[in-house]
Symmetry: C2
Subunit: 252 residues, 2 copies
Amino acid sequence: MTERQGPRTARRYPCEKCPLRPLPIFREFEPQELAFISTFKKGELAVERGAAVLVEGNNSAHLYTVLSGWGFRYKLLEDGRRQILNYVMPGDLIGLQGSVMGEMQHSVEALSELLLCVFERDSLHGLYRSHPGLAYDITWLAASEERMLDENLLSLGRRTALERAAYLIAFIHARASAVGLNGKKPVQIPITQQHVADTLGLSLVHTNKTLRKLMERKLIHWRDGGCAVIDPDGLRAIAGWEGLGESRRPLV
Amino acid sequence: MTERQGPRTARRYPCEKCPLRPLPIFREFEPQELAFISTFKKGELAVERGAAVLVEGNNSAHLYTVLSGWGFRYKLLEDGRRQILNYVMPGDLIGLQGSVMGEMQHSVEALSELLLCVFERDSLHGLYRSHPGLAYDITWLAASEERMLDENLLSLGRRTALERAAYLIAFIHARASAVGLNGKKPVQIPITQQHVADTLGLSLVHTNKTLRKLMERKLIHWRDGGCAVIDPDGLRAIAGWEGLGESRRPLV
DNA sequence: CGCGGTTTTGAGAATCCTCAAAACCAGTGG
DNA sequence: CCACTGGTTTTGAGGATTCTCAAAACCGCG
C-alpha cells in the first residue's frame, strides 16, 4: 500500500512552454496566473505503463495535472471486483479528492507512459488565498468530473450493454480528440477489453461479444492492443448521446 | 422545461440562527464567515413534494443549500429511462455544476417538502475573491459529491442486486443520521420502490423481490410509503461497506 | 365506494454470467 | 529460427440473474 514515487524527471516542460495550454480547448491565462502556476508546480513525474499513480487509502502529499499519456481511476471491492470510474488524459487534475478531503478513496493507474506535473497539496490553500480565479478553475474541474460521473452512472444504470459500450468509446474518443491526442491519425485508445468490462460493469466474455457487434457494424477496430474509432457519429447515435459541449476549460 | 420558481418564503432562518450549523457534523465557522454567508444568502425557497427544483437544460441563476427535507438528482434518457444519481438532504449544496459550468445537466426533484437557502450564481465569483476559506469549502463539497458518485458507480457496476440495495439504504441512512434527520426515532426514508429501482439500475419488479429479501432478514421495514432501517450494521455487512468517515464537513 | 399510486406475485423470455478451452500474438530465451 | 510463456481475444454452452408483461392486492384519500 505504498504510493509510487517514481523518478522525478527534470523539468522538461516549464509552464511557459506548456505543450497543452496553446490548445484551443483551454481557456487563456493571465500572464500573472501563469507565473503563479509556474511556482505552484514543483516538478514532473514520469510513471510507466501499468504502475500506480495514487493508491486508495493513502494520504498523498501531492496532486497532479496530466501532461501526456493515459490512465484510469478505479475502486476495488474486498474480493477483488474492480470498477473503473473514469479515464484520465492530458489536462486532467488528479488527486484533488484526496488533497481536499484527506485520504484517497480511489486509485489511479497508468495506461501508457504518463507524464505528470506535480503540485503540493499544502500549497492549495495558498492558491485559494492568492488566486481566486484559479481556485474557481479548480472547482470547475471538480464539477466537470462530477458531470462525467453523472453520465457514467446513467450509462451503467439505464443503458443496454451495446449502448453502454458505444457511449464509453464515443466519450473517450471525444475527450481524447478535444485535447489533441489524435494528432492526425485516428485516436488509438490504449485499453484492453478487460478495462472496458470493468468500466461497463460487464463480464469480459459479454464485453467481447458486445464489442464484436460494434466491429461488425464497422464503428470501431480492435488492434495493436487498443481500440480505434472509425465512426464516432455512429457510436453516438447508438448511445443516444449528444457529445461533449464545446466550451473551453481551464488548465491548472 | 421551465425552472420552478415557487414562493420565496420569508426568511425564517437567518444564518445566525441556522438550525443546521450547530450540528456536530459541521465544522465551525468564523463569525466573519458567517456574516458573509448571511449576505450571500438571498432568501428562502419552499418546494413541495414532487416538484422540480432544477431542470436539466436550464441555465439557473441560483444555487441552493438544503435547509430541510429530501430530494434527488437524476438524469433521463430520451425514451424516458430515468437514473437517479444521488439523494440530497440538509446541508447539501445543489446547482453548483450549473453555476460553475453553465447549463444544468441533471434535474433535481423534491421527495418531501424542501426548504432551501437561495444564493445567486453571480455572487459566487465574489465569494471566491473575498473568502478563500469558503471557496475551499465549496470545492470540498464538490469533491465530496464526487466521492459519493464514485461509490455509487462501484455499486452499480460491480455489486449484486442484493448488495446494491443494502449499500444504497445503508448509505442513505448514514447520511441522514449524520445530519440529524432521525430525531430520536429510526430514520424514515421517504422513497418508493420505483426510486430505489431507478437508483440501482434495476426493474421495479426485481427491486421489489430484492427489497423483500432485506425485509425477510429483518434489516429494513417498508411502511408509510417509505423505508425504515432496522439494522444498519447488517446492511453494511451485506454490502461490504465501511460506512461514512466521521470527519466534519463544511456548510455553506 | 371508487380512484390512482404503490407493492406484490407469477411466468416466460432476454440478457448476462461462469466455466472452459481454443486461438492469437508479442516477447523471451534457447 | 523455434519453442515457450503470459497476456489478450474469441467461441461455445449451460445456468443464473434480471427483464417484460400481466394481473392482483393493498392503501390512503376524496
